[in-house]
């Protein structure tokens, strides 16, 4: 109980910091618009039916935006030694991880809620379907769980902007594959049976990486 309460306090702290600066959301909004424009032009000129590419573009954009957000959130902690303050607090290490992961999950979800209507409008396609939202949510949980751990590691290294995607992308690849498959399946009207495989896969990924990250996080922040 105590673990969860202190985790929520950390989430609250991150929310207040964001509310005062509004750095993340303003930059994310512009970033997403730019990603969509780049993709639209780089594919539209060759492919006759651009809607076929929407699942791929959506997840590529989510991956890039998510990576930026994770990197920003972790480097804010490390830069001015905020993480030392967190470590001095009398809370278990796991609640620091949970708090950071929950915060990342929340920020990424809000970004996605901004992103989906823009996608729907620009590609003339309704993306607000329950299964797509489920795919986005489960994918983001997996992304945030392992991303929180790896971004903390990357923030301590030199060249942290390059380090995070290098560490993160090969590991979250299954999430991208499963989420793209699921999104594409929903848009194509695939059978429920075919889709549940990917839903279950995403849930398995989320559980595995939540557990592994929870167990290893304390080794990253101590020392």
């Amino acid at each position: 109980m105590n673990t969860i309460r202190s985790a929520l306090t950390i989430v609250w702290k991150d929310m207040i910091a964001e509310w005062r600066t509004k750095e993340m959301f303003s930059s994310m909004f512009v970033f997403i618009l730019l990603v969509i424009v780049i993709f639209k032009f780089s594919f539209d000129l060759r492919v006759s039916n651009a809607t076929l590419l929407v699942p791929g573009i959506l997840w590529a954009a989510l991956t890039f935006a998510g990576t930026l957000q994770l990197g920003r959130s972790a480097s804010l902690e490390v830069e001015d030694g905020h993480v030392d303050g967190l470590l001095l607090a009398p809370v278990p290490r796991s609640s620091i991880y949970l708090g950071k992961a929950l915060g990342n999950l929340m920020f990424m979800s809000i970004t996605e809620l901004i992103m989906l209507p823009i996608f729907s409008a620009l590609f003339n396609l309704n993306l607000f379907r329950p299964l797509i939202l489920l795919a986005v949510f489960l994918g983001t949980v997996g992304f945030a769980s392992v991303g929180t751990l790896l971004s903390t590691m990357a923030a301590h290294s030199r060249a942290r902007e390059v380090m995070l995607p290098v560490l993160l992308f090969p590991i979250v690849l299954p999430v991208v594959i499963a989420a793209v498959k699921l999104t594409a399946g929903v848009l194509d009207g695939a059978a429920w049976q075919e889709l549940t495989v990917w839903v279950r896969f995403l849930i398995a990924f989320d559980i595995v990486f939540l557990v592994v990250s929870l167990m290893t996080f304390r080794f990253v922040v101590e020392g």
Binding site: H156, S157, V166, P170, P174, F201, V212, T216, F219
Partner: protein, 228 residues
């Protein structure tokens, strides 16, 4: 200061002999495959390299867990050495796989037909990430901790990556059934012998590489003592 470990003496000779024997088996003893011809002989060393690629990763994973538990420098050395050997064998597996795929599927990199080749390429990327992480961390103790954590996290992801690639390609047409059970007994023997050969070679390299790291540590230690 750590004591240095002995050279891999007898194991080194055993490894040399088995490699020569394996080459003889692959080129002289194993029969020529009916549909693919001589190019199929690449299979023996290709799969053995891939096996060492995975095995080295497993050793890094175990060394990572042990390091986090004991905080002994030796386990960091083992993990690092194993990852370094792994990168060599994984590269070999990707390259031989590409050479094999060209005459078989008429593509250097058959994305759709061969999930295992894609998996091993992703493993190679993970190895690159592991080494980059080490290179970009200055403080040795922190480097050891982070590398151990990354080894564990990445290892947990490998089965999931394989499953996702498998299912992803299952909707595409499969041109050839996977090799697997269709091996003639002589081929199977040759293959098993190659696996054994590569495993011995891995341990020889691992011992030598760990020895090198320990000696480097000792030199570093002596240097510090002379200078201060």
């Amino acid at each position: 200061m750590m004591k240095s470990i002995r050279k891999a003496g007898p194991l080194l000779w055993l490894s040399a002999l088995t490699i020569i024997a394996a080459l003889c088996l692959v080129f002289l003893y194993a029969p020529t495959e009916r549909t693919m011809g001589d190019v199929q002989r690449i299979f023996y060393f290709h799969v053995s390299s891939a096996w060492i690629g995975f095995f080295a990763f497993f050793v890094t994973f175990v060394a990572g867990i042990t390091y986090l538990r004991t905080k002994k420098r030796l386990w960091d050395i083992v993990g690092h050495s194993s990852a370094e050997i792994g990168i060599v064998f994984t590269t070999m597996a990707v390259l031989t796989g590409s050479i094999w795929a060209k005459p078989t599927w008429n593509a250097w990199f058959p994305w759709e037909q061969e999930p295992r080749l894609i998996l091993i390429s992703i493993l190679l990327l993970i190895y690159f990430a592991y080494h980059m992480l080490r290179a970009f961390l200055r403080e040795p103790e922190q480097r050891a901790r982070f590398a151990a954590v990354y080894g564990i996290v990445a290892f947990a992801g490998v089965p999931l990556t394989f499953m996702s690639i498998r299912w992803w390609q299952s909707l595409h047409p499969v041109v050839f059934e996977s090799q697997g059970s269709g091996l003639a007994p002589t081929m199977l023997w040759t293959f098993m012998f190659c696996l054994l050969t590569f495993t011995i070679l891995f341990f020889v390299l691992l011992i030598q590489r760990c020895r090198l790291s320990i000696l480097a540590d000792q030199v570093e230690d002596l240097k510090r003592r002379v200078l201060h």
